[in-house]
């Protein structure tokens, strides 16, 4: 699908997949490399737009200084289950009220 214009190599795709914790098989990796090159080639048109001295937009409106008071106990979204029960209710694996994962290596 790619027009042969290489912006991102298969090795880079593998690195990005690792950063994003996405396990890709060889086929997927090849196909994604092609597709990402096609898409990134299209994205290159942005370089035509002069943007010196243009401030980047992170938020569309000039809202600033939104705070909450330092108060406890108001559970957002009306969580009514005991918080611990609510916390653990969707977990794939729990024990003694902990979330359980394969051992972390430091």
């Amino acid at each position: 699908m790619s027009d042969g214009h290489i912006i991102i190599s298969e090795e880079q795709v593998a690195h990005v997949a690792r950063l994003a914790r996405l396990g890709l098989d060889a086929d997927e990796q090849r196909r994604l490399t092609d597709q990402l090159n096609t898409i990134l080639t299209y994205m290159e048109q942005l370089s035509e737009v002069p943007t010196e001295d243009v401030e980047p937009t992170a938020h569309v409106f000039d809202l600033v200084n939104v705070y909450r008071a330092d108060e406890t106990g108001r559970r957002a979204g009306g969580t009514s289950l005991a918080s611990q029960e609510a916390a653990l209710s969707n977990a794939p694996e729990t024990e003694q009220h902990f979330f359980v994962v394969p051992r972390i290596v430091e």
Binding site: V16, R21, L22, I39, T51, F61, R75, G77, V101, P102
Partner: protein
């Protein structure tokens, strides 16, 4: 098919007692049973809860305390809006069994208004798509065109549900056109509010700086009613605007005389579908005849919309979707060898191809050495989009454009060409980039009998202008009364026969 009536009509019947809230919900549920196998609009139908809510509404009517215009009104809710105790899947395998312990702010408001939820409507996985074909629960079909076409996306489920009468109205979400494009393709009204007009608390994030929840309805009046119920400041959403919400129904019969409506030349480009262009131009002309002054305007950065959007949206998405790691909720791959294997396989098996593609793109755009060339550049171009609109709105009150360059396409037609799929959003994306509100109203049918949408865009927090223009358009046309069997329910003709 169904002869579901708009909310404001149902309301009169419910108040007068000619319609009972329980009977209304039962009729919708029966219709869902009959039509769902063909259309697949819902991921989860919440029949039991709907019956209970309907009974409460009926009781409120019986006691004469049903004050909200949404009391007893059956709604479809897009499955990326969190509903306490009802699974919220984002049409993804990774959230297939996720049951939120909390309600989105919009759900709290709808419940307070006494609305009835029929179910959680289908969508593109994590709202990433323009056809509702990337759903883990199968594609939704467009009620128009003999169910051979996509309903658009990503709010294809909500749009198709409203179009087919499987709910009186729906809530969807719009990040780059996900309400307006499916609304146009299914012949219903879709409104993307100003960024910050409706709380995002409880909306499963795709791209946080672009996402908005909004109504999909049978007509503009209903859009006003539903927006009224969900709009307003929310202390749980830091980006929610503390801006007063006007009475949206007040503007509906004001007409457009004296309004200046801009027509951006970049939105009528070579290669767009001729029938779409003709219908949109006819719609614009109708508004001129109704008294609006048309103005030629330019939004010069329009061609860069898709590139800008897919960098920003996917960069944000790559972070927003990092929480799906198999630790606290959601899918976890079976028998992981170690922690790394758990992450890699959970996300590989839990996400579909389109979601993975976008996470990859977004991760790449943010990664060391590429941030300035992609992410920062796109943020700068986003500033130029805001300036384009600011300049245009200095000369006009609202803009008129097509919603999508094409009508609905056939299922599977664009699945193998992601870029072509992305390019279909070019007319809806700019409003998300600028944060401004926009409305899609039905403005015609193709010769194949597929709906076409007219888009109205307005300055920030001027949803009232959208509704004013949209209601006027409906008052001079009857496309919004067309139903998917191709036959107008209340009138026949070419759409301008009133």
């Amino acid at each position: 098919m169904s002869s579901m009536r708009p909310i404001h009509v149902l309301r009169e019947q419910l108040v007068s007692g000619t319609l009972n809230a329980v009977a209304l919900t039962e009729a919708v549920l029966q219709h869902v049973d009959a039509v769902e196998p063909e259309l697949n609009t819902y991921v989860t139908v919440t029949a039991e809860q709907a019956r209970q809510q309907a009974a409460e509404a009926a009781d409120a009517f019986a006691r004469g305390v049903a004050r909200s215009p949404l009391q007893g009104i059956p709604l479809a809710i897009k499955d990326n809006i969190c509903t306490k105790g009802v699974r919220t899947t984002c049409a993804s395998r990774i959230l297939e069994r996720f049951v939120p312990p909390y309600d989105a702010t919009v759900m709290q408001r709808l419940q307070a208004a006494g609305a009835v939820m029929i179910g959680k409507a289908n969508m593109d996985e994590f709202a990433m798509g323009s056809s509702t074909e990337t759903s883990h629960f199968g594609a939704t079909r467009n009620p128009w065109g003999h169910a051979e076409y996509v309903p658009g996306g990503s709010s294809g489920g909500p749009a198709a549900a409203v179009s087919a009468g499987l709910g009186a109205a729906a809530l969807g979400s719009d990040t780059g056109g996900s309400i307006r494009q499916p609304a146009a393709m299914t012949g219903v009204v879709g409104l993307k509010p100003t960024y910050g007009r409706v709380s995002r608390f409880g909306l499963v994030a795709f791209a946080s700086s672009l996402d908005q929840i909004g109504p999909l309805t049978q007509d503009v009046h209903d859009a006003a009613l539903l927006l009224q119920a969900i709009a307003g400041h929310d202390p749980n959403d830091s980006t929610s605007g503390d801006v007063a919400v006007p009475d949206y129904t007040e503007v509906l019969d004001r007409g457009v005389r004296g309004l200046k409506l801009g027509v951006p030349r970049e939105y009528f480009v070579a290669g767009m579908n001729a029938e779409v262009e003709a219908a949109v131009r006819a719609g614009i002309e109708a508004l001129r005849q109704a008294g609006a002054e048309l103005i030629d305007v330019s939004l010069p950065h329009t061609p860069y919309a898709v590139a800008t959007y897919y960098i920003l949206a996917n960069a944000e998405a790559s972070a927003n979707l990092a929480r799906y790691d198999g630790v606290r909720f959601g899918f976890r791959a079976a028998e992981p060898a170690d922690l790394s294997d758990m992450y890699m396989r959970t996300r590989a098996e839990g996400f579909g191809a389109e979601v993975k593609r976008r996470i990859m793109l977004g991760t790449y755009a943010l990664s060391s050495g590429y941030y300035d060339a992609y992410y920062k550049k796109a943020q700068q171009v986003r500033t130029l989009f805001r300036q384009d609109f600011q300049r245009a709105f200095a000369d006009c009150d609202a803009l008129l454009t097509p919603v999508s360059p094409t009508p609905a396409f056939r299922l599977g037609e664009r699945l193998d060409d992601p870029l072509q799929m992305y390019l279909a959003d070019i007319f809806t994306i700019p409003m998300n980039l600028a944060g401004i509100p926009a409305l899609s109203v039905p403005c015609g049918l193709t010769t194949d009998g597929l709906p076409i949408g007219l888009q109205v865009a307005a300055p920030p927090f001027r949803e009232d202008v959208l509704l004013q223009v949209g209601a006027t358009f409906e008052s001079i046309t009857d496309f919004h009364t067309l139903k998917p069997d191709g036959l107008p329910v209340t009138c026949k003709g070419d759409g301008y026969g009133l």
